[in-house]
């Protein structure tokens, strides 16, 4: 599935614009990482992609179809979304918490297929021991994995994740990002994630989109985009960028 974004603008209420005319193209079977400093509109941007926010101007096309012509449910069947935090109020087992992702795929009763598919996702994320744990009793890292699992349970051709690895230790950050890349390749999905880790984005992304000031600063393969100049200009941090196996690795210096 192909996503074409043209001239996207958005402002909250009557306030100043957050996004200014963003255009981008994303292809299926790829992992796209969106990076950029705090408050430049990364989350706002991805929320415009599945109309959680309705952009003021611009279009999002999925395989040429303008998503503003689709119903909310139709969009939900095509674009999965994992919010940055999702804490539940009341207690349910993790298995049920994940199965909520299958809302549009299942009927009143949980079928064997629902359970099997959900269990397969638990295994994939290596959290099958949490299946009957109370969702509310989990650590923030475990919580985050359940949120990712719920996104995968939606079984959509496009999956958007807002900082999915922010609470995870190094091993799990690498595991999840590598897994998202693997899923994109193996099942021909388009996976779009926001990340703050330049090196993880550089290592795994097929495409990196750098956002600054509500617009796209630069985008393309990591080796073209993640450069010393970009980090200095966008983040205001000195750094060295080395080439490790054809991918850039950023060694951070001091703020400029």
């Amino acid at each position: 599935m192909r996503m074409d974004i043209s001239d996207l603008s958005y402002g909250y209420g009557s306030g100043a614009k957050i996004l200014h005319g963003i255009s981008a193209e994303f292809e299926s079977s790829s992992l796209v990482c969106i990076i950029g400093p705090n408050g430049v509109g990364k989350s706002t941007f991805v929320k415009c992609l599945n109309r959680l926010l309705v952009p003021d101007t611009g279009k999002v096309l999925l395989d040429g179809v303008d998503i503003s012509t689709l119903s909310r449910r139709d969009i939900a069947m095509k674009i999965g979304y994992v919010p940055p935090t999702s804490r539940d109020m009341f207690s349910v087992p993790v298995l049920d918490a994940i199965m909520i992702g299958r809302h549009n795929l299942q009927g009143w009763r949980n079928t064997q297929e629902d359970l099997d598919r959900t269990y397969a996702i638990l295994k994939l994320l290596d959290i099958e021991d949490l299946a009957m744990r109370d969702f509310n009793s989990l650590s923030s890292g475990q919580h985050q994995k359940v949120a990712i699992a719920r996104g995968l349970a939606m079984e959509t051709p496009v999956l958007i994740l807002d900082e999915p690895t922010s609470n995870l230790d190094v091993r799990h950050q690498v595991y999840i990002t590598e897994m998202l890349r693997g899923i994109a390749k193996e099942t021909d999905k388009l996976v779009i994630m926001i990340s703050h880790d330049l090196n993880i984005a550089s290592k795994y992304a097929d495409k990196v989109v750098v956002m600054a000031g509500g617009t796209v600063h630069s985008s393309g393969p990591p080796e073209d985009v993640v450069t010393q100049d970009m980090v200095r200009e966008v983040y205001g941090v000195d750094c060295q960028v080395m080439d490790v196996g054809g991918r850039p690795v950023v060694v951070l210096g001091s703020p400029l």
Binding site: K47, N50, L52, S71, R72, D74, I75, A76, M77, I79, Y81, V82, P83, T85, S86, R87, D88, M89, F90, S91, V92, P93, L95, D96, A97, I100, G101, H103, N104, W108, L115, D116, R117, Y119, A120, I121, L122, K123, L124, D126, E128, A131, M132, R133, D134, S137, A147, R150, M154, Y175, E178, M179, R181, G182, I183, K185, E186, T187, K203, Y204
Partner: protein, 379 residues
């Protein structure tokens, strides 16, 4: 394909490939067995509670000066339903006592308990607030003002018997209308809805207090009696309306229960799953307001059931609204019937209104459940 990707290590490759093929079966049976056991518990709880309602109803029918045995009560109800009441004075007396005097209270107890409890489930779910209850829509303050107006000033929209009921119903819908107007303008976030509800509640309560300052002692006693909430004085004529409202309201909330579950993914998460979150909140709020208003206008303010029955059920079976709605409904009926029975038995011949005892009995039981609960694992 993943095999050709040098960036993906063997561990992740294996996991993803296994998942793409439908997932390995290792450990699945054991986990799903535990899950099925957990589900079976929900049905068992429902069945057990239905049984308790039957027993409590039978027992409630036996209470009174005129002695009628437990099974005889059921028989009397059955005979009346089949229209086979005998002609002897004895048979007619039994029929009158059971059918006219005692059964309405039991039926109202079941209806009101179920309705208030399901309203609580719905409000707690849409507002994501464990302290929400049927009255978070402002129903209680509006109904209170309406009743006060009828009792103190005699200003009513209906005559005689239903003066207070009609007033309470009409005024109880005003706070909801205000909350819905505010949310229409500001978006239906839980915080906005709760704060609007609280603001309207204070205005109405102040208005009621002002009215009470002008009331004579008789009026004040009548207001107190209404506020405490009771199910004893309601006759058959009021029941069809309560029954229809409850069946329709509970059915509507049951139908929306899957969507209520999705709200637990957060507002954005739920929207991304195709739910129109604002519309769902408004729809539930309207259903709850109409249902709670109907019940409250007949019974007065019966508190606590709508707050604790849903939590008690959640503690035992979790927060899946598909099961939470029906099981809470039955537990609500159990609590009201138990409170009604206790109210008649504890200080007999004095009667303690049900509204007082729901809190008296429900509080300690609830605390006990909170302490007992193993919060880590569902089995």
């Amino acid at each position: 394909m993943i095999e050709d990707d040098p960036l993906i290590g063997n561990v992740v490759k294996r996991s993803v490939l296994e998942w793409a093929k439908g997932g390995g079966a290792e450990g699945r049976e054991e986990v799903l067995e535990r899950y099925h056991r957990f589900y079976k518990r929900k049905w068992l709880l429902l069945a057990a509670l239905v049984l308790v309602v039957m027993v409590l109803s039978g027992y409630a029918l036996t209470i009174g000066d005129y002695h009628i045995g437990f099974l005889d009560c059921f028989e009397a109800v059955w005979i009346h339903i089949r229209g086979e009441v005998g002609t002897t004075p004895q048979e007619r007396l039994v029929d009158y006592v059971i059918w006219e005097l005692r059964l309405p209270t039991v039926v109202v107890g079941i209806i009101a308990g179920a309705a208030l409890s399901v309203c609580g489930v719905a409000m707690q779910s849409i507002l994501k607030n464990p302290l929400a209850d049927p009255y978070t829509t402002g129903v209680s303050s509006g109904a209170g003002f309406g009743a006060t107006l009828a009792i103190v000033a005699g200003a009513t929209i209906a005559d005689s018997e239903y003066a207070i009921v009609a007033n309470a119903f009409l005024f109880s819908l005003i706070p909801t209308a205000v909350i819905m107007l505010i949310t229409k303008l500001r978006g239906a976030s839980p915080t906005t809805m709760i704060m609007a509800g609280v603001a309207v509640m204070y205005v109405f309560n102040a208005a009621s207090t002002l009215m009470k300052l002008w009331g004579d002692p008789n009026s004040l006693a009548a207001i107190l009696e209404w506020q405490v909430g009771s199910i004893g004085g309601i006759r058959w004529s009021g029941i069809p309306l309560m029954f229809v409202a409850t069946v329709a309201g509970v059915a509507a909330i049951q139908l929306l229960s899957r969507k209520l579950n999705v709200l637990s993914a957060g507002d954005d998460g739920a929207k991304a799953l195709g739910i129109d979150v604002n519309r769902l909140r408004m729809a539930i709020m309207l259903v709850v307001a109409l249902l709670a208003a109907t019940i409250v206008s007949f019974t007065g303010l019966i508190g606590f059931v709508g707050l604790i029955a849903p939590h008690m059920v959640r503690i035992i079976i979790g927060a899946d609204n598909r099961y939470l709605v029906p099981i809470s409904a039955v537990l609500g009926a159990v609590i009201l019937l138990a409170a009604e029975i206790a109210g008649k038995v504890l200080l007999s011949p004095a009667v303690i209104p049900v509204g007082v005892l729901t809190s008296f009995l429900g509080g300690p039981v609830f605390l006990w459940l909170l302490l007992r609960r193993n919060s880590e694992v569902w089995e």
